[in-house]
Symmetry: C2
DNA sequence: TCACGTTGTAATGTATGCAATTTTTTCAGT
DNA sequence: ACTGAAAAAATTGCATACATTACAACGTGA
């Protein structure tokens, strides 16, 4: 099925589901492409080029980019176009701090409000996630492990938290894609399964503890110690500056 | 100074500051108009009408509305236009729950990272806020008391939290405008001043406690007990339905 | 050779016109 | 009158053309 055809039929793209206007489809495609690292951080997102690729006008592309910009997964520079965000180490730390705060609340609320149907759904998602890693599809795996946390936020029944979680999860995926070391499995599905169990049985404190450790493990697998290459000249040569 | 002139000069609008393209100006104007209740919840935002008012094309209006939509302060209904959001009581409760979570974290971080200059700035903001209420400018007062909490988030030095806070504060202002009872002063500047003092002296636990009480007081002044009129027929006649 | 201003090109910002959809109005039938 | 269908009007979605801005290449003068 060509991209153009997908635009006419209103079927959602892979994981990301949303129906309606055309920019939803474009949004979802770019979104997935970034999360699955088919678009590297820093890549310039040319409006006309994207328009030709998706067979739509710049108007539609522009709207999609605007939305991605609001989620901080692309950066919109006035008069200079959009680029895929490339979070600095400091920004990455801020995202993880924010996530700890939100995930704690989300977990507590999810324990209170989760329905049986939602537990079923999220169980299925973990299975699918594991399948992705088994077959070596790292990109889709990262995306699905993110969607696990999104589903959790849905179970918390709090729209603002869900929206914020959406933004944080996207940014986290970007960070993982950029800073993950080794290449080992990031989100161990085992931890995801334990979390589900704790939530289902209503063990709030335990669920929160599991979640915090889970986040610790994710962050521990990253290379956030500042050893990576930098494009900030001042930072690179800071040791030479006396002041 | 006419609106058109303000569009050409790049001066920011009142409190909301942001420079760059035209939709920034339009965004800020509509934003302020909503927070100051010159635009009532539920008001339809006609693109062409707004375009004539601001002397710009629908393209610009559209972009501004899109951004307001992402902050959940206007609702974008595909093919049916945008309306000023009118949060339900349940949504209002969700916003307050989210705010408690974020404000706690923000306060803790602000205690850790606040600079003297920032303390000065926020002191000035409280003075200005008080002046607004003294002179009876309720709308500007609501907006400024919101900006107090935004400034706090800036002091926390965490970009994602700041963004989220921005959205939550906007929504809170809408909720206050919609549900506040009596008409007494909502955000007592006294509480704001106490908070500043606690933050300045580094008393983290006390600052958080003050903040939580502050939020309690705000919510207490609202009429969220479901006595208000509703436009949801099912909700209105739910007591008649046996099921 | 380097600094710096100039010009040309490419990309973004904005306006406008047409197509598709929704909402309102009209009007026949009961 | 009231209901419901059909036509008309209004409004949004999208594409395209033009204006404006940033970037790069080039050339000039020290």
């Amino acid at each position: 099925m060509s991209v153009k055809e997908q635009l006419s039929t209103n079927k959602p793209v892979k994981g990301t589901s949303k129906a309606g206007t055309q920019d939803d489809v474009v949004y979802a495609h770019i979104f997935d492409a970034i999360l699955e690292q088919r678009l590297a951080p820093g890549t310039k997102l040319n409006e006309e080029a994207l328009g030709e690729i998706f067979g739509v006008s710049r108007t539609v592309i522009r709207r999609a980019l605007s939305r991605l910009g609001h989620e901080q997964i692309v950066i919109l520079r006035p008069n200079r176009g959009a680029v895929v965000a490339s979070p600095t180490i400091d920004e990455a730390r801020q995202v993880f701090l924010a996530r700890r705060i939100v995930e704690q609340a989300v977990t507590e609320q999810a324990v209170l409000h989760a329905t049986k149907e939602q537990i079923e759904i999220i169980r299925g998602m973990v299975v699918e996630e594991q399948a992705c890693f088994d077959r070596g599809d790292r990109g889709a795996g990262i995306r699905l492990s993110g969607e696990f946390h999104l589903q959790l936020a849905k179970m918390a029944r709090n729209a603002p938290l869900l929206n914020f979680q959406r933004s944080l999860v996207s940014q986290t995926s970007l960070i993982i894609a950029q800073y993950e070391t080794g290449g080992k499995s990031h989100c161990s599905f085992d931890e995801h399964n334990q979390l589900i169990a704790a939530i289902e049985s209503g063990e709030q404190a335990k669920a929160v503890e599991l979640m915090m450790h889970h986040l610790d493990h994710i962050e521990a697998k990253l290379n956030l110690d500042g050893e990576g290459a930098s494009d900030d000249l001042h930072a690179v040569f800071s040791h030479l500056i006396s002041r």
